[in-house]
Symmetry: C2
Subunit: 319 residues, 2 copies
């Protein structure tokens, strides 16, 4: 038995310090702490990386502070459409869903696709039908409604443009909320897993899908290299095939996890004019929390690693 580790994120972007009051900061810190400790408890008891990342992401999906599950932003039609994906590193198995409504925990649906279907990627009404078939929990529109998210939609519609959820502009609402959520873990058996979930972009149109549901782009896991969950400008993360790029930089070029993440995010994404970040864990249990934006909601913990929770680069909360 070797040591375990887990890392999570709750989105990256231009997080306005001015608007993130001490109370809000404390609320985010508490929510991140709760999510990562739920994942860690599973690893500590000898549970699997898959169960750990599922538990951590479910916790973040259930928290209205984050743009995933309950706290999902609104589309142009005033709906909450969610994407999620999950992958296990020992068998390269994967599941993903896009464009699903009213499913309480899209990450559980992605996992059901992986474990209970012959498919990897299900979409829309069909994915919801599969969720019913699997007996997953549904919630009413009211469950997903938060006034702040709705105000963000109205604001975006007034401005006649699509706001990236993690952009500075969306931080204008009094109680702003940011980003995708995700988790990566290495369990005591040396197996890796990654999971990502999102409510997409405020005021999104035309059935836009970002990187969060795309294996290789938003999520990837392989015991030979690493597990990665991304958050950021989805279009650029797709074009960069970011999650698999980090795995390839490690496996094909023998780079360390830190070097691989730095090249994929701080070099390549920066050159493309994109911002965002990743959480990643490698086969040895090393953890990397890497971003090129002003901040990333993030946390990490391991058997030999104290709990870390952070938001800004220089304003981290060490508990």
């Amino acid at each position: 038995m070797s040591s375990y580790s887990i890392a999570i994120h709750g989105g990256a972007g231009t997080i306005s310090r001015r608007r993130l009051t001490p109370d809000r900061q404390a609320a985010y810190t508490q929510a991140l702490t709760q999510a990562i400790l739920q994942g860690e408890a599973i690893l500590k008891q000898g549970g699997t990386a898959l169960d750990a990342v599922t538990a951590a992401v479910v916790s973040l999906e259930d928290c209205p502070l984050f743009n995933a599950g309950r706290g999902s932003v609104f589309t142009a039609d005033g709906k909450n459409e969610m994407d999620a994906s999950i992958m296990t590193g020992h068998d390269l198995n994967a599941g993903a869903v896009a464009f699903v409504k009213n499913v309480r925990n899209p990450i559980r649906l992605a996992r059901a696709v992986m474990e209970q279907s012959e498919h990897v990627f299900l979409c829309g009404d069909g994915a919801e039908k599969f969720a019913q078939y699997c007996g997953l929990s549904f919630e009413t529109d009211a469950y997903f409604f938060t006034q702040e998210r709705y105000d963000q939609l109205l604001k975006a519609q007034r401005e006649q443009r699509i706001l990236l959820d993690h952009s500075e502009e969306s931080a204008d609402s009094v109680d702003k909320k940011h980003g995708t959520v995700g988790a990566v873990a290495r369990d005591q058996y040396g197996n890796l897993a990654a999971a990502t979930s999102t409510g997409g972009m405020t005021n999104k149109q035309f059935g836009r899908i970002g990187d969060s549901s795309i294996i290789g782009c938003g999520t990837y896991a392989n015991n030979l290299s690493c597990a990665v969950s991304c958050t950021g400008y989805g279009e650029f993360f797709i074009r960069g095939v970011v999650a698999y790029d980090i795995a390839c930089l490690m496996y094909y070029k023998n780079l360390s996890l830190d070097e691989a993440c730095r090249i994929a995010i701080q070099e390549k994404q920066t050159q493309m004019g994109s911002d965002g970040g990743v959480v990643a864990v490698d086969a040895a249990g090393n953890v990397c929390l890497c971003y090129n934006s002003a901040g990333m909601y993030r946390a990490a913990i391991g058997q030999n690693r104290p709990l870390f929770v952070g938001i800004f680069e220089d304003n981290i909360a060490l508990l």
Copy 2:
């Protein structure tokens, strides 16, 4: 000005020799020839790789012999739902659509997403709305109806299971048809492009999306390495992130195009129990047509390369 090349595929899989009559073989050979010559004409005149792969895939989409566009298979609901993606290697720009109905040429829609939207990946009704916005051609259900495809659906439903379009079983219908279509090209300016389009799986349910619409999995292009279009068992091609894997094997490991394709398909996909193939072209204009199935509908031509059209491994048509 350097030399151009282009390669296309019309699907891979277990193609039954017994059922592929000489007449049918001639029809496929003619359709592949027509498609690749349309792409080549553009390259010869100094056109772009992007225009060449678009023209070749449009030609294959318009031909009812192939499972894309007009010849798309039927879903469990008796609909024709199509996926497509396209990418350019000089700027890593990309466009993709999934789950679209009645759009005459899904590859044109993927290209419109790339060129006329801020997004990379659109899906379902929203993608169709975007197609209308861009003034793309729509067709009625009747246009997409072919009796043979419908018979395949009825047969699959009788057998209460989902048939991979390229499986031996689907070849039971008198006039069987196979696969995804795709094209890759290098133009005289050294730019690469890749395009892929499909009608998915016969009797597919739950909004299943395969690799054809996924950048990095079914389609990838980068002037630093290669352009790739995949066809095969979509779930395994997603899990293998096949198109980008080939690019990484070249760029990070300095392998040749042939070696990279062989590892990705003949080693990795074979080990996973999957079958399929790729067409690929590298920055130097080398072409690779690689598969681990019994056959792949394929063709290649270049400035310094005679026309090649093939179906089986040992039963190739050299024109």
